[in-house]
């Protein structure tokens, strides 16, 4: 499929910048976040966390803690073992996890005991009075060493520190390399960072009426898995109601975030009282739900003398930390775009997911595909330098062409649509590359300044399908294939609209703005007149929640589906009243009219009052009322082959981006700064360019963080070294440059309106661009970014070593 910009329908609201529906309440400080929730008799929990990386728990003495006035209870892993099942887990069942460590601790920061008290102050006082005896065990912090015979074993029941190992091969990889004119190889390390929202994870649980446990929490997709939390708590699923509470940022960190609500629920059940547990920043940094990818690569790529890629061979060791709650899902994401935007057909991928004494891994914006993209772009840049090709030229030569869509990649995923040359051309058009290349030379010669230009592209897979969870596993315990989203639209008796969403509320992706925009488009009403609310799990229809850049696409599909059902009913009522055939009617600007004859029409308010109050005026047999729900299932997903030679279609909605950065690097101090930065994205049909731009910019800022500043560091003994925001460096306004944005639209043929997801793209490409720009600036010193984050000291060390070598 080629670009269909000219064929795109004209929309009134979709595609226009609109102020966000969500903003007014946030601007007056009434966001309703989890810590704002106060219930009568609420107790507060604080957690004692392990100070050691690996140890058996010999004893926990709570005598002194329990004497402190205001302390209600102390709960430990022994209680968990006695009264609950292991937490929800998509990884190997031989690696169970409880919200409080059972028998032994496996990383610094793992929860050991919870104190419940009348205030958080008292609970924290009491944590200090707990006496815990640990019998230290050897810790293993290097994932390669963790695979050696004799390495300290994390999970005796699993029997090995390798959580997953498999080699996938697609195409003819050996031939691709034997026939290549050039093979570039690299050893790369993507360091550990995390989504690190400003609001931590939290939950409030209370035993409610009729034996129902209510949990309020800011986890994002609990409507998908609340029954699993119920299972952990040994409750029938209909005795647990989870209530959505808006999240103050997530970026993957609250995607599942299951341990916090599970723990809060458990503490409420043990005490019989409402309990709040909201992580403090130390809790979140060292434990939270998870950290993100921490991968070591030996990678090589083959090329022809013209710079055409012949094949890719990747050997990746992924440091998963102590548990594997999500299996190897972040590699599934890499597989969904394993060739990037390039047309090569031969890929080998050897994956080892290794257990070490660190916090477990999970989602962070990009979900592992940003790492793979960085590896691809690193190799291509290395080849371009060796072949004497400009970075834009080698990419252009390898792009999948416009007439090849829909395009099935090695591995089985399908790319729906795209126009990669158009995105590249737009980015090049926004930045004067020739000027900067001249300026680079001039500044080096005349002023001794070091300027570098980085250019990179990325795929941005979106709209994840549940088959991703098990595409990499032969025998998944729960081979789910659904990842739907639902909406309920009600037109009240006066013609006013209610929109009920069946997932968590997450203001960052503007769900209310998206939903009301689609309703406005469908009915010709003003979007600001729509009221939006959220279902709890006792009322919720199937939903999966935001994640994998899916929510805008899925919500638009669900709202449009419900709208169509309502439109049919409105037209049928109007046809009956106006005594015309339904096919002679159309819905225009909130009225149903005889086609082309607006004078013969009925308003939504007139039709609504009929539907509610005048049954005898309706077509015989029609139900009263105007409420319709629609569950929109994944628009295109297929099963993997039994032998996994084809992983199936699981991420077919494929965005694309090209960024170009001009940076200055000081070789004496390692200081980096930006002189210009352009970012062009294709997320299909844009619903709201302004909010999409916000996503791109925010994501790019996070990518800069992962590239230059953010590091969840452990020392060799497994001690955690990033336990404050003075150690874990989130970029401030001074580190983030203005990004000049551009958009290209290649509507998806598979989704309603042609929308693609755009939540992750910013972070998918900045690491590649910034790495390339730093290399380019210090090329004469042999600079080559192989490890993230790249810190000033690393840059200075490379320069000094080069000077010493002469």
């Amino acid at each position: 499929m080629t670009t269909v910009e000219n064929e795109k329908p004209q929309y009134k609201y979709i595609g226009a910048d609109r102020k966000r529906v969500e903003d007014p309440r946030l601007l007056v400080g009434r966001g309703g976040y989890i810590a704002d929730l106060k219930l009568p008799g609420l107790l507060h929990a604080a957690i004692l966390r392990s100070p050691v990386p690996h140890a058996t728990i010999r004893s926990i003495d709570a005598t002194e803690a329990l004497k402190l006035p205001g302390v209600v209870a102390v709960v430990t892993g022994e209680d968990c073992k006695a009264h609950m099942n292991p937490c929800m887990n998509f990884g190997p069942s031989s690696i169970p996890q409880f919200p409080l460590a059972v028998d032994k601790v496996r990383y610094v920061g793992e929860a050991v005991a919870a104190v419940i008290a009348e205030s958080r102050y008292i609970a924290e006082d009491a944590v200090e009075l707990l006496e815990v005896e640990f019998d230290d065990l050897p810790a293993v912090t290097n994932p390669v060493a963790a695979m050696e015979p004799g390495a300290a074993l994390l999970h005796e029941g699993h029997g090995s520190n390798i959580g997953y190992e498999r080699t996938f091969e697609f195409g003819e990889v050996a031939e691709a390399f034997s026939g290549a004119d050039l093979v570039v190889e690299d050893t790369l390390h993507w360091g550990r960072s995390a989504g690190m929202p400003m609001e931590t994870s939290g939950a409030v649980a209370r035993p409610g009426l009729n034996g129902v446990l209510e949990i309020f929490c800011n986890s994002l997709n609990f409507s998908y898995f609340s029954f699993l939390i119920a299972g952990a708590l040994k409750l029938p699923s209909n005795r647990l109601t989870m209530n959505p509470v808006p999240a103050g940022g997530s970026f993957g960190s609250k995607f599942t975030a299951h341990k916090v609500p599970t723990l809060a629920g458990f503490l409420a059940l043990r005490t019989g009282r409402p309990v709040s547990y909201v992580e403090d920043r130390l809790d979140h940094l060292m434990n939270s739900d998870h950290h993100a990818s921490d991968r070591y690569y030996d990678a090589k790529m083959g090329f022809t003398s013209e710079g055409i890629i012949t094949g890719l061979d990747v050997d990746v060791v992924d440091d998963y930390g102590a548990y594997m709650q999500f299996g190897v899902g972040t590699h599934g994401n890499a597989f969904s775009q394993i060739v990037g935007p390039y047309g090569f057909r031969n890929v080998k991928y050897h994956l080892r997911a290794v257990l070490t004494n660190k916090c477990q891994q999970g989602a962070y914006r990009g979900f592992g595909s940003e790492v793979h993209n960085w590896v691809l772009e690193r190799l291509i840049d290395k080849a371009a330098a060796e072949l004497g090709l400009a970075p834009e030229e080698i990419r252009r030569r390898n792009f999948i062409q416009n007439d090849q869509f829909p395009y099935k990649i090695p591995g089985g995923n399908v790319y729906d649509s795209g126009n990669y040359p158009a995105v590249l051309d737009k980015a090049l058009g926004m930045i004067d590359l020739e000027h900067w290349r001249k300026e680079q030379k001039r500044l080096r010669e005349e002023e001794g300044r070091y300027i570098g230009i980085g250019l990179a592209t990325t795929q941005e897979r979106s709209v994840f399908s549940a088959t991703e969870f098990w595409a990499l596993n032969d025998n998944p315990d729960f081979p789910l294939t659904s990842s739907p989203e639902s909406a309920t639209v009600t037109i009240d008796p006066t013609g006013q609209f209610q929109l009920l969403l069946h997932c968590q509320s997450m203001w960052g992706n503007s769900p209310e703005t998206v939903g009301t925009t689609v309703l406005a488009e469908e009915f010709g009403i003003e979007p600001e007149t729509v009221n939006v609310s959220y279902a709890d799990t006792a009322r919720a229809l199937p939903g999966t929640g935001p994640g994998g850049s899916r929510y805008t696409v899925m919500l638009a599909g669900a709202v449009r589906g419900a709208s169509r059902k309502l439109q049919r009913k409105l037209v049928d009522i109007a046809a009956h009243t106006l005594e015309v055939a339904p096919e002679d009617l159309e819905l225009v600007d909130a009225r149903v009219q005889v086609t082309g004859a607006p004078e013969k029409s009925l308003s939504l308010a007139e039709l609504a009052s009929t539907a509610y109050f005048f049954a005898l005026n309706m077509p015989p047999g029609m139900e009263s009322g105007l409420e319709e729900s629609f569950t929109y299932d994944h628009p295109y997903t297929t099963l993997p082959a039994a032998d996994r030679s084809d992983l199936g279609v699981f991420y077919p909605i494929m965005g694309h981006a090209c960024h170009i950065a001009v940076m200055e690097v000081d070789p004496d101090t390692g200081r980096t700064s930006f002189l210009d930065y352009v970012a062009v994205h294709d997320a299909g049909t844009m619903v709201n360019p302004k909010s999409l731009g916000g996503h791109v910019t925010g994501g790019a800022a996070q990518g800069l963080g992962s590239t230059l500043y953010e590091e969840l560091a452990y020392d060799d003994e497994g001690q955690f070294k990033s336990s404050t925001f003075l150690d874990y460096l989130v970029p401030t306004a001074n580190e983030v440059p203005p990004f000049r944005l551009g958009h290209v639209e290649t509507p998806s043929p598979f989704t309603e309106y042609g929308i693609k997801g755009g939540g992750e793209g910013g972070r998918m490409v900045t690491p590649s661009v910034v790495s390339a720009a730093i290399d380019d600036a210090l090329r004469e010193y042999g600079m080559r970014v192989r490890e993230l984050p790249v810190k000033p000291a690393d840059i200075v060390a490379t320069v000094q070593a080069s000077i010493a070598r002469g």
């Binding site: 969500e22 007056v28 976040y33 810590a35 002194e64 931590t200 940022g249 404050t724 306004a733």
Partner: protein
């Protein structure tokens, strides 16, 4: 046990201060932070706690017009001072202050968690009525972390708010500021 009682200070004091234009008096533990006092005793939940160690700035409030991190101050230290939270600008979603309106127009927020702090900091920055370059604004908001926006739309919001405050709600005098001086 006496050692427990000795270890944890349960002292209280009576504090009187002005918050959002009204005098308030409460008896509070001496160790209570100003942030917790505002959130828990006065229900001013716009004061958000992001790190509680003075780096993220989400708990920023104005103390006698200057921004402070309320997680690093004790309530007893605010005695006799004037505290402003974002509720002081407008707590009415349908009647926003020009600074709040500017943030909405520029989409200077996404999840909204740092937003009250950013809005208050903007009020402080703009109090002198002077125009600033984007780089100056960038520097002046750099004490508050935002994880969603990448900051550019916040900078745009501060500039928009500055125009509104200098030139009236429409912000019609543009960036030059000449009309404002004339008006």
């Amino acid at each position: 046990m006496t050692s427990t009682e000795n270890k944890y200070d349960t002292d209280t004091r009576t504090v009187t201060l002005r918050v959002n234009g009204r005098e308030v008096t409460r008896e509070v533990p001496t160790r209570l932070t100003l942030a917790d006092f505002l959130r828990d005793d006065l229900d001013l939940v716009s004061v958000h706690l992001g790190c509680e160690h003075g780096v993220c700035g989400c708990c920023t409030v104005l103390l006698d017009g200057g921004s402070v991190r309320s997680c690093l101050m004790l309530a007893v230290q605010a005695v006799g001072h004037e505290v402003e939270t974002v509720e002081s600008l407008s707590a009415d979603q349908n009647n926003l202050h020009p600074i709040q309106e500017a943030f909405a127009e520029e989409q200077g927020l996404q999840c909204g968690f740092c937003t009250p702090a950013m809005v208050l900091r903007t009020k402080e920055i703009l109090a002198d009525g002077q125009e600033r370059s984007d780089d100056e604004v960038r520097d002046e908001i750099s004490g508050i972390l935002c994880r969603c926006t990448g900051y550019q739309n916040i900078i745009n919001a501060v500039q928009n708010a500055g125009r509104k405050l200098r030139c009236g709600a429409s912000g019609g005098c543009g960036t030059a500021g000449d009309e404002a001086k004339g008006a």
